[in-house]
Amino acid sequence: MPIEYYIFLCLTLFSIGVIGVLTRRNAIIVFMCIELMLNAVNLLLVAFSKMNYGAALAMSPNTSAGIDAQLFVFFIMVVAAAEVSIGLAIIVMIYRNTHSIDINFLNRLKN
């Protein structure tokens, strides 16, 4: 399976995430779109890892090439989890004070 396919797929997902961030106003949805971006990256990383692994396999039968990427994905998930906890905490806090999570209403700070 050529790597380009994966790249295309992931970039598409990533961009959809970006578009979501740009077009939605609900903080939670925006945040979800960011998660989508992260996932796209994850998939791409795994794809790369397997690509490198395949390349390395040709040289030596028991290589561990590509493991780092998969671990990287693991760490990304870890971090994402932490981020989500904080992010949702903040969102909830805001919802407590202003009964809205519309990011466009949050423009008291400007200029």
Binding site: V18, V21, L22, R25, I103, N104, L106, N107, R108, L109, K110, N111
Partner: protein, 641 residues
């Protein structure tokens, strides 16, 4: 030599000392002390000058060195003084006439309160000092010092009564017009330095340095020098300050604006006659300017009614004569006329002063008349003065003027004719003045008549002395044909390059004299007959008005030069400075403010937009990086170091 060093220092420093002492002690000394001190110093330096004169007579010219005024790698200007025939003559005239006028002033300025009295004498002494610098200096720089010094003193003395605005204006006018001339002088000096690297007479005025100068140089330098002379000696176009200068006290007019300062120009040109006689063009210009000034001033003088104004214009016209003399190469003649003119013009002014004094500062001749009996001495002396200036033999004026005319005749007949016309007019207006003032019956108010009195001795004594001098002063220059040997010419032969020797045949010269005498005589008789009874009222004829209003030259200057300059500077101040230049400066500040106001609007507070901008930013970076936008690359290569 050492003796000379002391002597010259003596001559120079006495007046300076007088200036300082009177200036500083003005509040402490009584008028008497002040006056005697001031006069005494001048007399002292007069005596010293006599010694100097005698010394030069038997030892020839001497140069005394004190110190280097400027001494740099490229230029050295010594502080030297030169005493030779020319300067010693001027010394005598300046200090001599000077001391007489000091004496005269003692009485004339009596009404002044003592500090101002002291100020007056301090200025006079300072003037003498600067004048001495001017004539004694051994190079053009020192001459220039004196040159500007006398200008300053005349400024101070014209504006002596400083609370009067118009007097101040006159003073300022005088100074500024002089300054214009001085600029010419200065440029001439620079030119000399640029070409020769020196300004000392005995290095500049020599054959080899002349060889270094091209004709263009000489013409340029001499013309610029002449511009300087114009300012100082009130020639066209810079003459209008002199009549206004009559605002000063009368003795000042006598000393500065008749006898000494205004003749500085003649001195300067005579001093550098070698240069002038090497430039045909300049000589002609000098002659033309001279004669035309003479005529112009004469025409104006005919119509004036202020006694001092008449004399002032006559001074201008006499100066014109001198320049004519210089122009035609009769340097000694010019100097001769300077000396005689110093005598009789000083005399006339002082006489006028005594009249004014008697009439309590009445200067309009139409309100005078019949003073003959009231002021006998003044009358006699004044009359002598008039005769002398009119050029009636054997009075001094005749000889000097005749010498100039003769030279003019031989140079160019037209000069001579015009000169004669001028002479005729001189005789006319002088005797108009004399007649209206002294003859006829008194036209002033009664209490003036009541208080009419002859002036005190301190004033009449100078009159008498000057009268004698102007009567017999011609003796120093009696031409050969009259059996004289022209002592003056021989005196100056060392300085004047081409001493003007009478190349005319005896007969022609006699004829010329005859003609001039005849014309002068007729015109003065006309004047006498016309004005001894009545005075002339406001001129009716156009030409009369024209002369009466001094050819409208002041108005012309006002309209053509002064007002435009004022407008121009106002334009610069109000528009260019405020709007254009400062506007640009403040504009940049405003620009920053403006762009600040605009740019901050991007920060609209909405996270969505921020992220959008970020994405756009990333895209831009990509474009710059990969497609390497050409403008940026161009800038880069442009500024690639």
């Amino acid at each position: 030599m050492a003796l000379m060093k002391i002597l010259v220092a003596f001559i120079i420093l006495w007046p300076l000392a007088g200036f300082l002492l009177n200036g500083l002690g003005r509040n402490y000394w009584s008028k008497k002390v002040i006056a005697y001190k001031a006069t005494g110093y001048i007399v002292a330096s007069f005596i010293a000058s006599i010694f100097a004169f005698l010394y030069v007579q038997d030892h020839g010219a001497v140069t005394v060195h004190y110190f280097d005024f400027i001494h740099t790698a490229s230029l050295t200007i010594p502080f030297d003084f030169k005493v030779d025939a020319l300067s010693s003559l001027f010394l005598l005239v300046i200090t001599g006439v000077g001391s007489l006028i000091h004496l005269y002033s003692k009485a004339y300025m009596q009404e002044e309160s003592s500090p101002h009295y002291a100020r007056y004498f301090a200025y006079l002494n300072l003037f003498i000092f600067s004048m001495l610098l001017l004539v004694l200096g051994d190079n053009y720089i020192i001459m220039f010092m004196g040159w500007e010094g006398v200008g300053l003193c005349s400024y101070l003395l014209i504006g002596y009564w400083f609370s009067n605005g118009s007097y101040n204006y006159a003073a300022k006018k005088a100074f500024i017009m002089n300054r214009i001339g001085d600029l010419g002088f200065l440029l001439a000096i620079f030119w000399l330095i640029a070409k020769l690297g020196t300004v000392s007479y005995n290095e500049v005025l020599t054959a080899e340095s002349l060889a270094k100068l091209s004709n263009a140089d000489i013409t340029g330098i001499t013309l610029l020098l002449f511009v300087g002379a114009m300012g100082k000696s009130a020639q066209i176009p810079l003459f209008t300050w002199l009549p206004d200068a009559m605002a000063g006290p009368t003795p000042v007019s006598a000393l500065i604006h008749a006898a000494t300062m205004v003749t500085a120009g003649i001195y300067m040109i005579t001093r550098s006659n070698i240069l002038f006689s090497h430039s045909e063009i300049t000589q002609n210009i000098v002659a033309i300017i001279g004669i035309s000034t003479a005529l112009l001033a004469a025409t104006i003088a005919i119509k004036q009614n202020d006694i001092k104004k008449v004399l002032a214009y006559s001074t201008v016209s006499q100066l014109g004569y001198m320049f004519l003399g210089l122009g035609v190469g009769a340097y000694s003649g010019a100097v001769f006329h300077v000396i005689t003119h110093a005598f009789f013009k000083a005399l006339l002014f002082l006489g006028a002063g005594s009249v004014i004094h008697a009439l309590h500062h009445e200067q309009d001749i139409r309100k005078m008349g019949g003073l003959k009996s009231k002021l006998p001495i003044t009358h006699i002396t004044f009359l002598i003065g008039c005769i002398a200036i009119a050029g009636v033999p054997p009075f001094s004026g005749f000889f000097s003027k005749d010498e100039i005319l003769a030279a003019a005749f031989e140079k160019n007949k037209i000069y001579w004719v015009l000169g004669l016309v001028g002479a005729a007019m001189t005789a006319f207006y002088m005797f108009r003045l004399y007649a209206t003032t002294f003859l006829g019956k008194f036209r002033g108010s009664n209490e003036q008549e009541a208080h009419l009195h002859e002036s005190p001795l301190a004033m009449t004594l100078p009159l008498i002395i000057l009268a004698i001098l102007s009567a017999v002063g011609g003796a120093i220059g009696i031409p050969e044909i009259m059996g004289g040997h022209h002592w003056l010419a021989s005196q100056l032969s060392t300085i004047v390059s081409t001493p003007h020797e009478a190349s005319l045949t005896v007969s022609t010269e006699w004829i010329l004299m005859g003609v001039s005498v005849a014309i002068v005589a007729t015109s003065l008789l006309i004047a006498l007959s016309k004005y001894s009874k009545q005075t002339d009222e406001e001129p009716s004829s156009a030409i009369g008005k024209f002369f009466y209003h001094k050819w409208y030259i002041d108005e012309l200057y006002q309209k053509a030069i002064i007002e435009p300059l004022n407008e121009f500077s106002l334009f610069l101040k109000e528009f260019i400075e405020k709007k254009v230049i400062d506007g640009a400066v403040n504009g940049t500040g405003k620009l920053v403010q403006f762009s600040a106001r605009k740019v901050r609007l991007i920060q609209n507070g909405q996270a969505g937009y921020y992220i959008l901008f970020m994405v756009v930013g990333i895209i831009t970076l990509f474009l710059i990086w990969f497609n390497d936008i050409y403008i940026l690359r161009f800038i880069h290569t442009l500024t690639q170091k």
